[in-house]
Symmetry: C2
Subunit: 109 residues, 2 copies
Amino acid sequence: MSKQMTEMLKGTLEGVVLAILAVQPAYGYEITARLREQGFSDIAEGTVYALLVRVEQRGLVDVAKVPSEKGPPRKVYSLNASGGEYLEEFWRTWRFLAERIEQLHQGEK
Amino acid sequence: MSKQMTEMLKGTLEGVVLAILAVQPAYGYEITARLREQGFSDIAEGTVYALLVRVEQRGLVDVAKVPSEKGPPRKVYSLNASGGEYLEEFWRTWRFLAERIEQLHQGEK
DNA sequence: TTCCACTACATAGTATCACCGGGTAGCGAA
DNA sequence: TTCGCTACCCGGTGATACTATGTAGTGGAA
């Protein structure tokens, strides 16, 4: 992954994962797969798990342990009310930043 | 500044500053002021100076010392060829990320 | 003169975050 | 048994923005 992308993901990857959980609950391995599907092909697995630990500790998600047919039990994360608010705040922040950056891109030419 | 914004700026602030320099050369204090004008009202002065040191060391900008009528001499930064390429790469990375995030925002509803 | 406000640059220390490399464990197929 | 896939976890690293503070030069007010 390019260094630029790595740095740019800081702060946004969290929102991306929460947005995925907003659609429907999912477990870590699944989230990683979904990220890859959506174009984030180089997100490291370890990164996702670390992120999930953080959002769980901050109380943004609820966790349920579900046995799996294949491999160890899954930890299924779902966005709770607090997480929903946090996600909305994320979108506001993103909008703010994106608008200003787009503006800069225009002004540059 | 919100923590979300702080984290989201990581990786993007650099591109923002380079984009400002792409329009015309500027010195640190001036860049800080321009950022505030453009809505980034809470960027700390020290953050900008630290960033300028980094981009200078990476050879993305040229520097000229210019005496000021008021206060100490200014260090005027201008984007060079290498910085121009880097900025283009930044825009590509930004576009990629922004598109995927917008897509998520749609899919969420 | 003395003091303050504004301009202008600089830096040491802190927190956060994504990545790297590796590890643990359960299950089914060759 | 061994391999491959599923699934989770962790310690250490590098990069970045922020906080708080300091240094200097200039000009105007008290």
